[in-house]
Every structure is written in C-alpha cells, then in structure tokens.
C-alpha cells in the first residue's frame, strides 16, 4: 500500500508540475517567513529571560502629573527609595539601585584615555539580585568596597586588550583609582540594561556632591525590587504608594507621585511610553504583534491556497477516487492516499524553508540589528514547532479534500455526475477566495499607511534644520574649560560656516524639573531644561517668534530665559515677556530670571513624544556640544575627510588626548527611527509577500476553475456567446468576491492602521483615499490575474471544450 502511495504521489506531483510548483513555492515561502518572523519574535520575547526569579522581579515606575509636561511615566526614582522598600514594605525581599554614571568624563587605563559608556553605579547585592555570574571574582563581594569595578569581557578587551585575567588591575575615572574586582561572564541572554561596567555605589555616596542621593526630591536612578511572591504585587504596590504619600504630604497635590511595579520581563517590549530609561534598549510590542499577525496571515494565505487548489483538483480526481473504491479501496485507504500527498508537499516545503531561513538569517540580523543565532533555528523547540506547523498545514490543506474524496460514492462518479457542483465545496471555495481578497485589501491598506507614516517621519519639517550639521561632544567636566578655544579653532577651518554650542545636539539636556514662576500664585511648572548659546537658534534655523534672542554683549543674559511655545501654552500666558521665574540655576534667591523671548516649537526628541515645554538658558558651563554647520561641499567625500582631520587637530590641541567623537546630526536623528524604519520596511516586505502569495494562489485556482468550466464555456459558445461576453461573465464571478472581501477588510484595516500610527505622538491622519484605492488595487490585481486565463478559456474552440469531458 505504502509503496503505491509514494509512487503515485511523486508521479502526480510531476504530472501536475504547475500546481505542484505553485503550492510548493507558496508553502515554502510562507513557512520560511514564519520561521524568520518566529525567530525574531522569540528573540524579542527572550529579553531578560535569564534574570534570576524574573517572574517576581520588578522595576519601580513613577507616574507624575505635573503642570507643564503633564502625565508621564518615568523609570527613575529617588535615592532613598530602595532602602525604604526593603525595610518598610512587607513582601519586598530585595531591592537594588542602578544609577547611570553620566558625570564621569574620562577613563584612563594606563596611559590610554577612553570615554565612558554604559557605566552604572550599583549596590553590592546587584550581581546576586539579577543572577549575574562572574567568571573572575566573587559576586558576593565584588561591589562591596568603594572604588570597585566589575567589567564585561568586552570592556576588559577595550581597556586592557585582554578578555580575562584583569582582576586587581586598575582604572582611573576622572582621576580616582578604581580596582577591578570582578569579570562578568559573557551574557547568554540579552537584557534591557546595557551594561559595560559596574561600579560600587559606595564610591560616590560618601562624597558631599552626592548628598542629593539621600533626599526624596530628586529622581536620578532606577530601582528594582524582588517580591517574595508575585501574588503580593497589588499589596506591595499599595503599601509603596502609602509610603510615598507620606513622604510627599507637604508637597502641592500636583507634585505628588504614584508608583507601580513593572515586571522585568515586560520592560523591553512595553516601555515605549516610559521616559528616562538611560542605557536601555527597548523594542516595540505593537510592531512585534503586527509581525505575529502578518506571519499568521502569510500562513493562512498559504493554507488557503493549498486548500483551494486541492479542492479544485479534487474535482478532477473524483473519478480516480470512485474507481479505487470500486476496486476495493476503503475510506481509510483513500484518505491515507490523498492525505499523504498533502503531507509530502508540506514536508518538502518545510525542508526548503529551513534552508532558506538559514540563508536569510544573517540578512534579518543585519536589518533588525538582532543577534539571532542559527542554533536557534535547529533547536529542538523550533524544529518541533515547525513539524507541528507542517502537520497543521497538511491537515488543513489535505484534510477537507481528503475527506471529500474519500466520501465519494463510486456510483456518483461512474454516473459522471460527481464533482465541482458539490454545493458545500463550492461554498467553501468561494468563502476562501473571498477571504483572500479581504486579506489582500487589508494588507494593502496597512502597507500604504505604514509607508506613509514612515515617509512622514523621515521627511516632516521638524522645525529645526539638521542638514550639514556636525556635533562634537566634549567631556562633561572639561567642556567649559576647553570649549571656547576649541570652538574658536573649529570656526576657522575652511568649509565651516557657523558654529554654536548647546547641551546636546537638539539642545535638550537630560534634565527635566519644576521651576517656580515669580508670581503671587506660586505657580510651579515642570519643563525640559535646555542650554544654548546666542548662535544656536539662528544656526539651526529656529525662529524667535516673540521677544529677542540671547545676546553676548548683555552680561545679564546668563540670567534670563527663552521659552518654547509649548511652555507658553502650558502656562497660559498671553504676554510671556512680562513674566519672570525664580532663580533655578543657583542658590541666589535675589536673582530673578525674566523671559526675554519665545522660540517656535521644534522636535527636540523623536516624533514618538509630544514636544515638552522647554526653558532655554544661556549658561556656558552646560554647553558641552559643539555644533558645526558646514558647507555642503565638505559634507561628504574628500572635503569631508579633510574637514574631519582639521577638527581632529583642533581637538587634539585644545581638548586633549581623549578620542574625539563626531556625528552628523542628521544621522543621529535618523537613529530615533531606525528600529521602526527597518521593522516598517520588513513589515511592508512580508505584507507584500502575503499579497503576492494570494495572487499566486488565485492564479492557480482560476486556471483550475477555468479548466473545469471548459465544457460549460463550450456549450455557451455553441449557443452564440462572444469571447467578450464570456470574459465578462467569468470575471463577474470573481469581482463580486472582491467587493464583498473589501467591505469586510476596510473597517478591520482601519482599526489596525490606527493602532500602528498611534505609536507616534505625531503621525499622519488616515486618508480616506487609501481605503478606497486599496480595494481598487485588489480589484486590479485580481482582474489581471484572472483576465489572461479567462480570455484564453473563453476563446477555446467549442469542439475542444465539448470533447473535454
């Protein structure tokens, strides 16, 4: 029995090459897509999976709702919170603080100088808390002593040129000597925290400058807690809030905060609306879900193609089925026979899909900036899921046709009455085709919307001109000493048109805080603090729309402020130029800071965020970014090389030995959207793939349906139908399905498209035309697929047609 099965399967496939090819290609492509997307999704869900007891480990998130910025969730908390949670909140087992070392300027290893990156001050229990293992040193004691540092193999390599054996060696951080007390094992799994080096927090808490860490007023570090049991989450959260309310009882109501705990496994994907997450990587859950949806659609499309074609062909095979029954085949015999064909095809496609996935994985990693290893592909889990998938595909693709055929009564077949007119199978087939049109329309809409948003994000007027601007960051502590001379030297380089200084390339600094208006109502507003010199607005083409710009010749201009429009709106001021703030830059309460101007709003953060109210101050000490506007002629190529060399020389003679870091601001801005852009592109790719698969399937299906209609067409032609009228008649049947499919697709697509663009605080509006044009496009696709076949069939000579049966 089995040998006959295999033989007949192979011969049948060979004889029906066209359908075999269509089915195989469709299945292979869709299985490969699902594998790729599946690997990517698994990668996204794997973040922080290696954290010890991750199911009961949380990050504290604070909800603020202060005038100005409005409601925001922040991942930074106060210095004393960790101790308070551990000591005063029942069910909190452990807690740990992570403070980013933003104020470290220079790291010296021997004679070499480095810029710090991913440097964290943390409590001594941190390694144990997260379950990080050391390959050198003891995780219990490595972070106990002040001035201890734990490195990763990568940073050890950077500083010392070796990946191990660094215990006891020393690093100098801004002149203070730290001893290497531990070396982390290479991370097996990624986490949301990017860790380069860990420093004992005791190194700084003893210093007077860090007294603010003992106060409740400042949010500057991340706090993580572990509960004894995740079921106590609600209880713990409410206790924390009681404790915080008590701490903040003297504060005005709008400056009180709420807190909640975010499970550490949720941080990576579900934090896109949380601010102040330094040195963290995060993904986007919406896009991941979109990917899953697309993968499912691709799968469903392939299965639908498969069912449709097998059904259509089942009709041609009913004679075989009937004959086999007459010859003594049981239902089971027949079912096995037909089902094994479907299984064979799926298995073959599965093997091809693995090969393709393996080949495409490096490209995926490159596009999405992931690090998925091929070993994942061959892991038992992936392979068993693939086998499951293959079973599902062959079940769906083969089950109905197999049942249909094995149910065939010999008498029906031999009487010649069997086949396509079976009401149920015709209905199913029509439903499936309609479904495909529906999916195609929906995906076309999604693709248009995604593309439009992508286009919008990259081309929208941000209110600031980043073109041909180079940014050079000076070390934080060295800036105000070295900047003037460096700035002077750079401004003289040929090709440099203008220079300006600011706190970061958009002027927005890492500080956000509340300041007091000098009024009787004691108005307080939370704003972003930005530091610029008098040249910044002009150079970046940000218009001052009210009042005036800073002026170097006016000495008191270091004690005045400029606001953006959002700030003026938040304060509901009609005439901001008559207002003053209390001094928030020094402790001298006699100095007031008048508003001298208002600049037009511009996007100083990505389009994901609303433009926060901002206050601009001309404070030379905080100006550590040199912005260099260059002539377009030197923005690329040979001129650019020479320019960078010249800037490098100016750096060496004015700033020092530390490596220079220059970036084109435009590229920096583009990085805000890199993950979205690559994912949008991939989304579009897979969505179009699914559309293509549908088209492919419809082509196969329509040729089969035409084949079966040949006789009917012959009869109609004998009765005098023209090619034109026949074509129209054949088309009509499909077009009705397109229309019904579209009617269903449009509202669904509307809903999902809305979700997609809502990821951006600034986004396009959904355009009515998209929802009209997508069905039209589907119509065109469908028509062009069907038309060629239809005309061919309609032209068939009647005698050929009538002979066919």
């Amino acid at each position: 029995m089995n040998t006959v099965n295999v033989k007949i399967v192979l011969r049948r496939l060979f004889r029906n090459r066209e359908y075999f090819f269509i089915n195989l290609t469709g299945l292979t492509v869709s299985l490969a897509s699902i594998l790729l997307i599946g690997l990517y999704v698994a990668d996204q869900f794997s973040f922080d999976g290696n954290i010890r007891d991750h199911e009961r480990t949380y990050r504290v998130v604070e909800i603020q709702n202060q005038p100005g910025v409005g409601e925001q969730h922040v991942a930074v908390t106060m210095g004393p919170l960790s101790e308070a949670l551990k000591n005063r909140v029942p069910h909190v087992e452990e807690s740990v603080r992570m403070m980013y070392g933003w104020y470290i300027n220079v790291i010296k290893a021997g004679e070499k100088e480095f810029r710090p990156s991913n440097l964290w001050y943390t409590d001594e229990n941190m390694l144990d808390f997260f379950g990080y293992k050391l390959s050198e040193g003891s995780s219990k004691s490595a972070l106990v002593d002040p001035r201890s540092v734990v490195l990763t193999p990568k940073t050890a390599m950077k500083f010392f040129g070796v990946e191990r054996g660094v215990l006891g060696r020393t690093l100098e951080l801004d002149g203070q000597t730290y001893k290497v007390t531990g070396l982390l094992e290479p991370f097996e799994n990624k986490g949301h925290l990017e860790i380069g080096m860990l420093l004992s927090i005791k190194s700084i808490t003893v210093l007077p400058f860090f007294d603010f860490m003992k106060q409740w007023g400042n949010n500057m570090l991340a706090t993580y807690v572990r509960l004894d049991n995740q079921e106590n989450l609600d209880k713990v959260e409410s206790t924390i809030n009681t404790l915080i309310d008590e701490q903040y009882k003297d504060q005005p109501k709008e400056f009180r905060v709420k807190m909640y705990l975010q499970n550490i496994r949720n941080i990576y994907l579900h934090s896109s609306s949380i601010k102040f997450q330094v040195a963290s990587v995060y993904g986007n859950a919406t896009l991941v879900y979109l990917f899953i949806a697309v993968a499912l659609l691709v799968l469903i499309t392939a299965i639908v193609n498969f069912i449709n074609m097998s059904l259509a062909r089942a009709v041609n095979r009913s004679r075989e089925a009937g004959m086999r029954k007459v010859l003594g085949a049981s239902r089971l015999n027949l079912f096995t026979q037909f089902f094994s064909e479907s299984l064979f095809l799926s298995l073959f496609a599965g093997v091809l899909a693995i090969v393709i996935t393996q080949l495409l994985l490096p490209a995926l990693n490159l596009t999405l900036n992931t690090d998925i290893s091929v070993s994942w592909l061959f892991s038992p889990i992936t392979l068993s899921l693939l086998i499951l998938l293959i079973m599902v595909v062959s079940l769906f693709g083969g089950l109905y046709p197999s049942l249909y055929l094995s149910r065939m009564q010999p008498i029906d077949v031999l009487k010649g009455g069997a086949g396509p007119k079976g009401k149920a199978s015709g209905l199913l087939s029509r439903f499936l085709v309609g479904f495909q049109y529906s999916v195609t329309t929906a995906l076309l809409i999604m693709v248009s919307v995604a593309w439009a948003q992508y286009h919008y994000a990259t081309t929208v007027d941000l209110g600031i001109n980043y073109s041909n601007v180079l940014a050079v960051n000076l070390p934080y502590g060295k800036a105000h000493k070295s900047m003037p001379a460096f700035q002077e030297a750079v401004s003289k380089i040929p090709g440099v048109e203008k220079v300006a200084t600011s706190s970061g390339f958009t002027a927005g600094s890492g500080d956000q805080g509340s300041i007091m208006v000098d009024d009787s109502a004691r108005t307080r507003i939370t704003m972003r603090h930005c530091y610029v010199d008098p040249d910044f607005f002009e150079m970046m083409e940000i218009p001052v729309i009210m009042g005036r710009n800073f002026d170097r010749s006016i000495l008191s201009d270091t004690n005045v402020v400029i606001l953006n429009q959002a700030a003026v709106q938040a304060l509901r001021w009609d005439n901001p130029l008559q207002q003053r703030f209390k001094n928030f830059q020094s402790n001298d309460s006699l100095i007031k800071m008048p508003v001298i101007g208002v600049v037009r709003d511009y996007h100083y953060y990505s389009l994901h965020w609303k433009i926060e109210p901002a206050v601009y101050v001309f404070k030379p000490k905080r100006l550590y970014t040199l912005m260099v506007k260059v002539n377009p002629a030197v923005a690329s190529g040979e001129g650019n090389k020479r320019l960078l060399e010249e800037i490098g020389k100016a750096w060496n003679s004015n700033v020092g030995q530390l490596p220079i870091e220059t970036t084109w601001v435009k590229q920096e801005v583009a990085k805000w959207y890199t993950s979205e852009q690559s994912m949008t592109r991939l989304f579009i790719f897979f969505a179009l793939l699914s559309v293509l698969l549908s088209a492919f399937g419809l082509y196969g299906l329509s040729s089969l349906m035409m084949q079966q209609r040949v006789r009917e067409i012959g009869v109609r032609r004998v009765l005098g139908a023209s090619t034109y009228s026949l074509t129209l008649w054949l088309l009509q049947k499909h077009l009705r399905l397109v229309v019904v499919g579209s009617v269903i697709a449009v509202p669904l697509a509307w809903y999902f498209a809305q979700k997609l663009i809502e990821e951006f605080a600034y986004h396009i509006d959904l355009n009515f035309w998209v929802f009209l044009l997508a069905p039209v496009a589907t119509l065109i696709i469908a028509t062009s697929i069907i038309l060629q076949r239809t005309i061919q069939t309609a032209r068939t000579m009647p005698y050929v047609a009538l002979k066919a049966e």
């Binding site: 006959v4 075989e320 010859l327 009564q409 008498i411």
Partner: protein, 231 residues
C-alpha cells in the same frame, strides 16, 4: 449465483419521480454469459450498478451467492464486491498515474495479498491478455483496445466469480472491440460468469442469453440455441 426478485429502483428529485427499474426478476447461474440490451434510459446501467453493489435497489431482493445483499452492511457489501466482482467500463477508468502493472495490481493490493503473489498473479493475467510487453507503460501511452485489455485484466486479476461489463466496446473501433469480446468469451469459457450491458447486437452475439429491457422492465429473454444452461 445471482438472483434478483422484483427489483425496483426509483430516482426522486423534488418534482420528478423516475422509475429506472420496475420489478425486475431473473437469475444467473455460474458460468453464464448474459447480455443486457435495450435503448438508452431503459435501466441497463442502473441494473448493472445494483448487481455490482455500487447502488442499492429501492425495493426487491438481490441474492449474490445465496446471500441477501440487502441485509448486508456497507462494509460487508464492499467486501463481497472486492472479493467477488470485477468491473469493466466503457471508458476504461484506468488510473493515469499508475502504469499497467500497477493498475492491474491495485485490486490485489486492496485485498491485502503479499507482494510476491501479487506479482505472479498480475504477470499471469497480463500474459493471458497479451499485454505483458506493455507492463511499464502508462494508460495514456496505450491505444484504446490495449487500455480496455488492461481494464479487463484488472477486473479478473482478483479471480472474481462475476465480471460486470458496461459497454466494454463502446469506446473502441470494431477491430479492437472484437479483440476485447474474444477475450471475454475466452474468460467465460474458462468459467467466469459475465454480465454485460451493451448496445451492440454484434457484441450481444457472444452472450449465451440476452435480456432485453424497456422502460425498466424485462420485455424479452432469449437463449441461444446452443445454450446448455438450465435454470
């Protein structure tokens, strides 16, 4: 061997009721060669389908080998059919994906015979039908006559007691038709009971008895002069 009593078959649609067979009774003894004749729509094929157990009568009794077919389950009927009846069709109904050998082998596969025995039996019957040299060919590579010979080989390979033939020469030219008829005659001489539906008086000549049907009823039964059968 075969005995039908007051066999009727009524086809019903929503509006029309057609009586294809109307209280037909006759007997066929082992070794007989019976031709059933009659104009289109007289019920020949319906009768043959009922005899072949791929259709069931509306009323009446059908005894195959003294067993009342009407009381058997679907499964039992299929078994009886598989073991006792061979079919030959006007349009051959060979399976295109299988070669000659495999087509003929199929009934034996479904009977569950071991490979070696299947091979021996298929080769024997192919020799007998003079088609052995084509055993590796596919149906579409054969002439109509050859295809029908393969179909006959397939019908008799399981050594059925009865061979049912529905217009076996209907799709063949006269030379090939004669070839097939000679084959059937030879099989009959060797003891196979044959019931054949035909339009062709020439083909009917091969039979020892001719049953004529008209509007679902037997209007006439002729025994040929040399018939040695007794009922």
């Amino acid at each position: 061997m075969i005995s039908v009593e007051k066999l009727s078959r009524v086809f019903r649609t929503d509006e029309v009721e057609t009586t294809a067979l109307n209280e037909v009774s006759f007997k066929v003894v082992p070794g007989e060669f019976v031709a059933i004749m009659g104009p289109s729509g007289c019920g020949k094929s319906t009768l043959l389908n009922i005899l072949g157990m791929i259709d069931t009568p509306s009323t009446g009794e059908y005894f195959f080998d003294s067993k009342s077919v009407g009381t058997l389950s679907e499964r039992q009927r299929a078994r009886l059919r598989k073991e006792g009846i061979g079919f030959v069709f006007q349009n051959f109904n060979l399976i295109d994906e299988l070669n000659v050998f495999e087509n003929v082998e199929l009934p034996l596969v479904y009977l569950g015979l071991p490979t070696a025995e299947r091979k021996a039996r298929v080769n024997e019957v192919l020799e007998q039908m003079n088609i052995a040299h084509r055993r590796k060919h596919y149906p579409l590579q054969l002439s109509g006559g050859q295809q029908q010979r393969v179909a006959v080989a397939r019908a008799v390979v399981s050594r059925p007691k009865v061979l049912l033939a529905d217009e076996p020469t209907g799709n063949l030219d006269s030379a090939h038709g004669e070839e097939v008829m000679n084959l059937l005659e030879e099989l009959n001489k060797k003891g196979t009971t044959i019931i054949m539906v035909t339009h062709s008086t020439r083909d009917a000549e091969y039979a020892k008895r001719i049953i004529r049907l008209f509007d679902g009823q037997i209007i006439n039964e002729n025994w040929k002069s040399d018939a040695t059968v007794s009922i």
